[in-house]
Protein backbone atom coordinates (compact mmCIF):
# COMPACT_ATOMS: atom_id res chain seq x y z
CA UNK A 1 0.00 0.00 0.00
CA UNK A 2 1.79 3.17 -1.09
CA UNK A 3 2.40 5.71 1.65
CA UNK A 4 1.58 9.35 1.24
CA UNK A 5 4.50 11.75 1.18
CA UNK A 6 5.44 13.87 4.15
CA UNK A 7 3.94 17.32 3.53
CA UNK A 8 6.10 20.31 2.72
CA UNK A 9 6.36 23.36 4.97
CA UNK A 10 7.94 26.73 4.42
CA UNK A 11 11.70 27.02 4.92
CA UNK A 12 11.02 30.08 7.13
CA UNK A 13 13.12 33.22 7.60
CA UNK A 14 16.01 31.74 9.58
CA UNK A 15 17.25 28.94 7.32
CA UNK A 16 20.65 30.55 6.81
CA UNK A 17 21.81 29.22 10.18
CA UNK A 18 21.17 25.68 8.97
CA UNK A 19 21.60 25.62 5.22
CA UNK A 20 24.63 27.83 4.61
CA UNK A 21 27.67 26.00 3.30
CA UNK A 22 30.94 27.87 2.68
CA UNK A 23 31.11 26.11 -0.66
CA UNK A 24 27.36 26.35 -1.33
CA UNK A 25 27.50 28.68 -4.35
CA UNK A 26 30.20 26.61 -6.06
CA UNK A 27 28.69 23.98 -8.30
CA UNK A 28 32.24 23.94 -9.63
CA UNK A 29 35.37 25.14 -7.79
CA UNK A 30 36.47 28.74 -8.27
CA UNK A 31 39.00 29.13 -11.03
CA UNK A 32 37.77 26.14 -13.03
CA UNK A 33 38.25 26.90 -16.75
CA UNK A 34 34.91 27.78 -18.32
CA UNK A 35 33.23 28.52 -14.99
CA UNK A 36 30.36 30.98 -15.30
CA UNK A 37 28.53 33.08 -12.70
CA UNK A 38 24.77 32.65 -12.69
CA UNK A 39 23.40 35.75 -11.00
CA UNK A 40 19.90 37.08 -10.56
CA UNK A 41 17.35 38.59 -8.22
CA UNK A 42 14.31 37.06 -6.63
CA UNK A 43 11.40 39.51 -6.62
CA UNK A 44 7.93 39.33 -5.08
CA UNK A 45 4.49 40.36 -6.31
CA UNK A 46 5.13 44.01 -5.49
CA UNK A 47 8.36 43.93 -7.47
CA UNK A 48 10.37 44.12 -4.26
CA UNK A 49 13.48 42.04 -3.61
CA UNK A 50 13.07 38.85 -1.61
CA UNK A 51 16.01 39.03 0.82
CA UNK A 52 15.31 35.68 2.47
CA UNK A 53 15.06 33.21 -0.40
CA UNK A 54 17.18 30.13 -1.02
CA UNK A 55 18.03 29.27 -4.63
CA UNK A 56 19.41 25.84 -5.55
CA UNK A 57 20.52 24.58 -8.94
CA UNK A 58 20.92 21.06 -10.35
CA UNK A 59 22.21 20.22 -13.81
CA UNK A 60 24.13 17.89 -16.07
CA UNK A 61 27.85 18.37 -16.68
CA UNK A 62 29.16 19.90 -19.93
CA UNK A 63 28.99 16.46 -21.55
CA UNK A 64 25.32 16.13 -20.61
CA UNK A 65 26.01 13.49 -17.93
CA UNK A 66 25.00 13.02 -14.30
CA UNK A 67 27.28 11.34 -11.81
CA UNK A 68 24.37 9.36 -10.40
CA UNK A 69 23.28 5.70 -10.48
CA UNK A 70 19.98 6.61 -12.16
CA UNK A 71 21.77 7.99 -15.22
CA UNK A 72 22.38 4.68 -16.96
CA UNK A 73 24.79 6.10 -19.53
CA UNK A 74 27.82 6.36 -17.22
CA UNK A 75 30.91 8.28 -18.23
CA UNK A 76 30.35 11.09 -15.75
CA UNK A 77 33.68 10.88 -13.94
CA UNK A 78 35.39 14.24 -14.04
CA UNK A 79 38.66 15.67 -12.79
CA UNK A 80 37.48 19.25 -12.33
CA UNK A 81 35.44 18.79 -9.14
CA UNK A 82 32.14 19.61 -10.85
CA UNK A 83 29.36 18.97 -8.33
CA UNK A 84 26.30 19.90 -10.40
CA UNK A 85 24.57 21.37 -7.36
CA UNK A 86 24.72 24.96 -6.19
CA UNK A 87 23.02 26.72 -3.29
CA UNK A 88 22.80 30.46 -2.70
CA UNK A 89 20.71 32.49 -0.27
CA UNK A 90 19.60 35.89 -1.52
CA UNK A 91 21.06 39.04 0.00
CA UNK A 92 19.28 42.21 1.11
CA UNK A 93 18.74 43.14 -2.57
CA UNK A 94 17.30 39.75 -3.41
CA UNK A 95 20.49 38.78 -5.27
CA UNK A 96 21.85 35.25 -5.59
CA UNK A 97 24.98 33.98 -7.33
CA UNK A 98 26.07 30.45 -8.24
CA UNK A 99 29.24 29.44 -10.08
CA UNK A 100 28.66 26.66 -12.58
CA UNK A 101 29.63 25.17 -15.94
CA UNK A 102 27.26 25.26 -18.90
CA UNK A 103 25.49 21.89 -19.08
CA UNK A 104 25.38 19.77 -22.21
CA UNK A 105 22.17 18.86 -24.02
CA UNK A 106 20.31 15.73 -22.92
CA UNK A 107 18.17 13.04 -24.47
CA UNK A 108 14.50 13.80 -24.07
CA UNK A 109 11.30 11.84 -24.35
CA UNK A 110 10.12 10.52 -27.74
CA UNK A 111 13.61 10.27 -29.13
CA UNK A 112 14.10 14.04 -29.08
CA UNK A 113 16.65 16.15 -27.28
CA UNK A 114 16.37 18.56 -24.40
CA UNK A 115 18.16 21.88 -24.78
CA UNK A 116 20.88 22.59 -22.21
CA UNK A 117 19.11 23.60 -19.01
CA UNK A 118 19.54 23.99 -15.27
CA UNK A 119 16.77 22.91 -12.88
CA UNK A 120 16.24 25.63 -10.26
CA UNK A 121 14.53 25.30 -6.85
CA UNK A 122 13.36 28.31 -4.87
CA UNK A 123 12.50 28.20 -1.16
CA UNK A 124 11.46 31.14 1.04
CA UNK A 125 9.32 32.35 3.88
CA UNK A 126 5.89 32.75 2.32
CA UNK A 127 6.41 29.71 0.06
CA UNK A 128 4.73 26.67 1.56
CA UNK A 129 6.25 24.40 -1.10
CA UNK A 130 9.35 24.58 -3.23
CA UNK A 131 9.01 26.42 -6.53
CA UNK A 132 10.77 24.76 -9.46
CA UNK A 133 11.77 26.33 -12.72
CA UNK A 134 14.40 25.88 -15.42
CA UNK A 135 17.04 28.12 -16.88
CA UNK A 136 17.82 27.89 -20.60
CA UNK A 137 20.68 29.52 -22.51
CA UNK A 138 20.16 32.40 -24.96
CA UNK A 139 22.72 31.23 -27.52
CA UNK A 140 20.93 27.88 -27.92
CA UNK A 141 18.12 29.18 -30.15
CA UNK A 142 17.82 26.07 -32.28
CA UNK A 143 17.99 23.67 -29.33
CA UNK A 144 15.53 25.80 -27.32
CA UNK A 145 13.11 25.82 -30.27
CA UNK A 146 13.08 22.02 -30.16
CA UNK A 147 13.01 21.63 -26.38
CA UNK A 148 10.00 19.61 -25.17
CA UNK A 149 9.43 21.66 -22.01
CA UNK A 150 9.75 25.08 -23.65
CA UNK A 151 7.34 23.86 -26.33
CA UNK A 152 4.61 23.59 -23.69
CA UNK A 153 4.81 27.28 -22.77
CA UNK A 154 3.41 30.36 -24.50
CA UNK A 155 5.86 32.95 -25.81
CA UNK A 156 5.73 35.19 -22.75
CA UNK A 157 6.21 32.32 -20.30
CA UNK A 158 8.98 30.82 -22.41
CA UNK A 159 10.87 34.10 -22.40
CA UNK A 160 11.00 34.08 -18.58
CA UNK A 161 13.10 30.90 -18.68
CA UNK A 162 15.84 32.08 -21.03
CA UNK A 163 18.76 33.74 -19.27
CA UNK A 164 20.64 36.73 -20.65
CA UNK A 165 24.37 36.79 -21.20
CA UNK A 166 26.63 38.86 -18.94
CA UNK A 167 30.36 39.52 -18.93
CA UNK A 168 31.07 36.65 -16.57
CA UNK A 169 28.11 34.36 -17.12
CA UNK A 170 24.36 34.71 -17.16
CA UNK A 171 21.59 36.75 -15.57
CA UNK A 172 18.36 34.98 -14.52
CA UNK A 173 15.82 36.86 -12.44
CA UNK A 174 13.02 35.01 -10.69
CA UNK A 175 9.74 36.87 -10.35
CA UNK A 176 7.53 34.99 -7.95
CA UNK A 177 4.28 36.76 -8.77
CA UNK A 178 2.72 39.35 -11.05
CA UNK A 179 4.35 41.22 -13.92
CA UNK A 180 6.77 38.99 -15.78
CA UNK A 181 6.00 36.12 -13.43
CA UNK A 182 8.50 33.32 -13.99
CA UNK A 183 7.04 30.13 -15.45
CA UNK A 184 7.17 27.54 -12.69
CA UNK A 185 7.11 23.79 -13.21
CA UNK A 186 5.48 20.93 -11.40
CA UNK A 187 8.04 18.10 -11.30
Amino acid sequence: MPEASTPSQTVGPFFSIGLSWPDGPFAVPEGTPGALWLRGRVLDGAGDPVPDALVETWQADPDGRFDHPDDPRGGAERADGFRGFGRSATDADGRFAILLLKPGALPGPDGGRQAPHVDVSVFARGLLRRLVTRLYFPEEEAANAADPVLALLDDAARATLVATRTDDGYRFDIRLQGDGETAFLDV
Binding site: E3, Q9, G18, W58, D67, R83, K102, P107, G112, L176
Partner: protein, 248 residues
Protein backbone atom coordinates in the same frame (compact mmCIF):
# COMPACT_ATOMS: atom_id res chain seq x y z
CA UNK B 1 27.83 28.20 -29.84
CA UNK B 2 26.00 24.86 -29.72
CA UNK B 3 27.32 22.43 -27.15
CA UNK B 4 28.28 18.82 -27.54
CA UNK B 5 25.38 16.49 -27.15
CA UNK B 6 25.90 13.79 -24.54
CA UNK B 7 24.64 10.28 -24.64
CA UNK B 8 24.96 9.51 -28.32
CA UNK B 9 22.55 10.65 -31.06
CA UNK B 10 20.07 7.86 -30.64
CA UNK B 11 19.84 7.53 -26.87
CA UNK B 12 16.28 8.57 -26.10
CA UNK B 13 14.76 8.65 -22.66
CA UNK B 14 12.66 5.67 -23.69
CA UNK B 15 15.78 3.64 -24.44
CA UNK B 16 17.23 4.75 -21.16
CA UNK B 17 14.11 3.34 -19.46
CA UNK B 18 14.04 6.05 -16.82
CA UNK B 19 11.55 5.70 -13.99
CA UNK B 20 9.92 8.85 -12.74
CA UNK B 21 8.49 9.67 -9.32
CA UNK B 22 4.82 9.56 -8.36
CA UNK B 23 2.94 12.81 -8.07
CA UNK B 24 1.63 13.76 -4.64
CA UNK B 25 -2.08 13.95 -3.89
CA UNK B 26 -2.84 17.70 -3.66
CA UNK B 27 -4.70 17.15 -0.39
CA UNK B 28 -1.42 16.00 1.16
CA UNK B 29 0.51 19.16 0.34
CA UNK B 30 -0.15 22.81 1.17
CA UNK B 31 -1.13 25.17 -1.67
CA UNK B 32 1.14 28.07 -2.50
CA UNK B 33 -1.45 30.76 -1.78
CA UNK B 34 -2.95 30.49 1.69
CA UNK B 35 -4.05 34.00 2.70
CA UNK B 36 -4.15 33.21 6.42
CA UNK B 37 -0.36 32.85 6.08
CA UNK B 38 0.15 36.49 5.18
CA UNK B 39 3.58 36.17 3.52
CA UNK B 40 2.10 33.95 0.80
CA UNK B 41 -0.01 36.83 -0.48
CA UNK B 42 2.94 38.49 -2.24
CA UNK B 43 5.03 35.41 -2.91
CA UNK B 44 2.68 32.74 -4.26
CA UNK B 45 2.68 32.61 -8.08
CA UNK B 46 -0.63 33.50 -9.68
CA UNK B 47 -0.40 30.77 -12.29
CA UNK B 48 -0.52 27.04 -11.66
CA UNK B 49 2.81 25.36 -12.41
CA UNK B 50 3.19 23.46 -15.67
CA UNK B 51 3.43 19.71 -15.10
CA UNK B 52 6.44 18.28 -16.92
CA UNK B 53 7.43 14.63 -17.33
CA UNK B 54 10.50 13.49 -15.44
CA UNK B 55 13.71 13.36 -17.41
CA UNK B 56 17.32 12.78 -16.45
CA UNK B 57 17.62 16.02 -14.53
CA UNK B 58 14.62 15.23 -12.35
CA UNK B 59 15.44 11.57 -11.60
CA UNK B 60 19.01 12.33 -10.63
CA UNK B 61 20.09 14.63 -7.84
CA UNK B 62 23.06 15.67 -5.71
CA UNK B 63 24.29 12.74 -3.61
CA UNK B 64 26.11 14.86 -1.06
CA UNK B 65 27.14 14.16 2.46
CA UNK B 66 30.39 12.27 2.36
CA UNK B 67 32.98 14.55 3.91
CA UNK B 68 30.30 17.07 4.79
CA UNK B 69 29.12 15.57 8.09
CA UNK B 70 31.35 15.51 11.18
CA UNK B 71 31.01 13.02 14.04
CA UNK B 72 29.19 15.50 16.31
CA UNK B 73 27.08 17.26 13.71
CA UNK B 74 24.02 15.24 14.74
CA UNK B 75 24.32 16.40 18.36
CA UNK B 76 23.11 19.94 18.82
CA UNK B 77 23.90 19.77 22.55
CA UNK B 78 27.63 19.17 22.11
CA UNK B 79 28.73 22.01 19.86
CA UNK B 80 29.74 24.50 22.55
CA UNK B 81 31.71 24.59 25.78
CA UNK B 82 28.65 23.86 27.90
CA UNK B 83 25.35 22.16 27.35
CA UNK B 84 22.30 24.14 26.32
CA UNK B 85 19.38 24.73 28.64
CA UNK B 86 16.15 22.92 27.96
CA UNK B 87 14.65 19.47 27.76
CA UNK B 88 17.17 17.13 26.16
CA UNK B 89 15.53 15.02 23.45
CA UNK B 90 16.49 12.39 20.92
CA UNK B 91 14.75 12.91 17.58
CA UNK B 92 14.98 9.88 15.35
CA UNK B 93 13.23 8.05 12.54
CA UNK B 94 13.59 6.59 9.09
CA UNK B 95 13.59 8.24 5.74
CA UNK B 96 11.69 5.99 3.34
CA UNK B 97 9.99 6.43 0.00
CA UNK B 98 6.34 5.98 -0.81
CA UNK B 99 6.86 2.23 -1.33
CA UNK B 100 8.41 1.82 2.08
CA UNK B 101 11.95 1.44 0.70
CA UNK B 102 14.67 3.05 2.85
CA UNK B 103 16.53 6.08 1.50
CA UNK B 104 20.07 5.34 2.72
CA UNK B 105 23.05 7.69 2.88
CA UNK B 106 20.99 10.79 2.27
CA UNK B 107 21.78 14.15 3.90
CA UNK B 108 19.35 15.48 6.50
CA UNK B 109 19.91 19.05 7.69
CA UNK B 110 18.03 20.51 10.66
CA UNK B 111 17.75 23.86 12.37
CA UNK B 112 15.63 25.17 15.25
CA UNK B 113 15.12 27.78 17.95
CA UNK B 114 16.52 27.26 21.46
CA UNK B 115 14.42 26.18 24.43
CA UNK B 116 13.30 29.78 24.96
CA UNK B 117 12.06 30.02 21.38
CA UNK B 118 14.88 32.23 20.08
CA UNK B 119 16.89 31.52 16.89
CA UNK B 120 20.62 32.18 16.73
CA UNK B 121 19.93 34.38 13.70
CA UNK B 122 20.32 38.17 13.49
CA UNK B 123 16.86 38.48 12.04
CA UNK B 124 15.13 37.04 15.10
CA UNK B 125 14.16 39.99 17.28
CA UNK B 126 11.97 38.01 19.68
CA UNK B 127 13.08 39.20 23.16
CA UNK B 128 13.75 35.73 24.50
CA UNK B 129 17.28 34.98 25.64
CA UNK B 130 19.93 33.50 23.40
CA UNK B 131 21.75 30.48 24.77
CA UNK B 132 25.52 30.76 24.42
CA UNK B 133 25.62 26.96 24.36
CA UNK B 134 23.16 26.52 21.51
CA UNK B 135 23.30 27.37 17.79
CA UNK B 136 20.51 25.02 16.78
CA UNK B 137 22.00 23.49 13.64
CA UNK B 138 22.63 19.85 12.89
CA UNK B 139 23.16 17.42 10.04
CA UNK B 140 23.52 13.72 9.53
CA UNK B 141 23.44 11.07 6.84
CA UNK B 142 20.81 8.38 7.03
CA UNK B 143 22.24 4.91 7.58
CA UNK B 144 21.77 1.83 5.43
CA UNK B 145 18.18 1.44 6.65
CA UNK B 146 17.35 5.12 6.11
CA UNK B 147 17.65 5.73 9.86
CA UNK B 148 18.67 9.07 11.32
CA UNK B 149 19.13 10.32 14.90
CA UNK B 150 19.69 13.78 16.34
CA UNK B 151 20.22 14.85 19.93
CA UNK B 152 18.96 18.32 20.78
CA UNK B 153 16.76 20.26 23.20
CA UNK B 154 13.06 20.78 22.67
CA UNK B 155 12.62 24.14 20.96
CA UNK B 156 10.28 26.69 22.48
CA UNK B 157 7.29 28.18 20.68
CA UNK B 158 7.85 31.69 19.41
CA UNK B 159 5.71 34.67 18.51
CA UNK B 160 5.59 36.04 15.01
CA UNK B 161 3.70 38.87 13.35
CA UNK B 162 1.37 36.92 11.08
CA UNK B 163 -1.79 37.69 13.07
CA UNK B 164 -2.71 39.05 16.47
CA UNK B 165 -1.06 37.00 19.23
CA UNK B 166 0.40 34.60 16.65
CA UNK B 167 2.70 31.86 17.91
CA UNK B 168 4.48 29.17 15.94
CA UNK B 169 4.09 25.79 17.61
CA UNK B 170 7.42 24.31 18.73
CA UNK B 171 9.07 22.90 15.61
CA UNK B 172 12.30 21.66 14.07
CA UNK B 173 13.03 22.47 10.42
CA UNK B 174 14.22 19.57 8.27
CA UNK B 175 15.77 19.62 4.80
CA UNK B 176 16.27 16.39 2.84
CA UNK B 177 17.78 15.73 -0.60
CA UNK B 178 16.64 12.17 -1.18
CA UNK B 179 17.94 10.35 -4.21
CA UNK B 180 16.51 12.60 -6.91
CA UNK B 181 15.76 16.27 -7.65
CA UNK B 182 12.09 15.26 -7.68
CA UNK B 183 12.34 14.06 -4.06
CA UNK B 184 13.79 17.22 -2.51
CA UNK B 185 11.81 18.16 0.60
CA UNK B 186 11.89 20.90 3.21
CA UNK B 187 9.43 20.51 6.06
CA UNK B 188 8.92 21.05 9.81
CA UNK B 189 8.31 18.55 12.59
CA UNK B 190 6.03 19.35 15.50
CA UNK B 191 5.50 17.83 18.94
CA UNK B 192 2.44 15.95 20.19
CA UNK B 193 -0.04 17.75 22.41
CA UNK B 194 1.04 21.26 21.42
CA UNK B 195 -1.90 23.62 22.11
CA UNK B 196 -0.82 26.01 19.34
CA UNK B 197 -1.72 23.91 16.29
CA UNK B 198 -5.19 25.32 15.79
CA UNK B 199 -4.00 28.89 15.30
CA UNK B 200 -1.02 28.08 13.06
CA UNK B 201 -1.67 28.81 9.37
CA UNK B 202 1.55 27.14 8.20
CA UNK B 203 0.47 23.74 9.51
CA UNK B 204 -3.19 24.31 8.74
CA UNK B 205 -2.47 25.18 5.12
CA UNK B 206 -2.23 21.44 4.53
CA UNK B 207 -5.76 20.51 3.41
CA UNK B 208 -6.10 16.95 4.75
CA UNK B 209 -6.05 16.64 8.56
CA UNK B 210 -4.46 13.19 8.21
CA UNK B 211 -1.64 14.76 6.22
CA UNK B 212 -1.18 17.44 8.87
CA UNK B 213 -0.93 14.74 11.49
CA UNK B 214 2.07 13.26 9.62
CA UNK B 215 4.09 16.30 10.67
CA UNK B 216 3.51 15.65 14.37
CA UNK B 217 6.22 13.49 15.89
CA UNK B 218 5.34 10.72 18.37
CA UNK B 219 6.69 10.42 21.86
CA UNK B 220 8.81 7.26 21.74
CA UNK B 221 9.23 5.68 25.18
CA UNK B 222 11.45 2.94 23.74
CA UNK B 223 14.08 5.41 22.62
CA UNK B 224 14.15 7.54 25.76
CA UNK B 225 17.49 7.28 27.49
CA UNK B 226 16.88 6.82 31.23
CA UNK B 227 18.16 9.67 33.37
CA UNK B 228 19.23 11.52 30.25
CA UNK B 229 16.79 12.27 27.42
CA UNK B 230 13.23 11.92 26.19
CA UNK B 231 12.71 10.76 22.62
CA UNK B 232 10.46 11.55 19.71
CA UNK B 233 10.09 9.59 16.51
CA UNK B 234 9.52 11.22 13.14
CA UNK B 235 9.60 9.22 9.91
CA UNK B 236 9.89 11.03 6.60
CA UNK B 237 8.25 9.67 3.46
CA UNK B 238 9.74 10.95 0.21
CA UNK B 239 8.09 10.40 -3.15
CA UNK B 240 8.07 6.84 -4.45
CA UNK B 241 8.81 5.72 -7.99
CA UNK B 242 6.32 5.21 -10.74
CA UNK B 243 5.47 1.55 -11.36
CA UNK B 244 6.48 1.61 -15.01
CA UNK B 245 9.40 3.24 -16.83
CA UNK B 246 8.80 6.51 -18.68
CA UNK B 247 7.59 5.69 -22.17
CA UNK B 248 5.90 7.64 -24.99
Amino acid sequence: MPTNVGGGPSTSARELALTGYRRDDPADQPPQLFPDYVATRLRAPTRAPLTIPHGLTEVTGPLLGAGRVGPLDHDLTSQHAGEPLGQRIVVHGRVIDGDGRPVPNTLVEVWQANAAGRYAHDGDRHPAPLDPNFTGVGRCLTDGEGGYRFVTVKPGAYPWQNHDNAWRPAHIHLSLFGRAFAQRLITQLYFPGDPLFDQDPILNAIPDPKARARLISSFDPNETVPDWALAFRFDVVLRGRDATPLVD
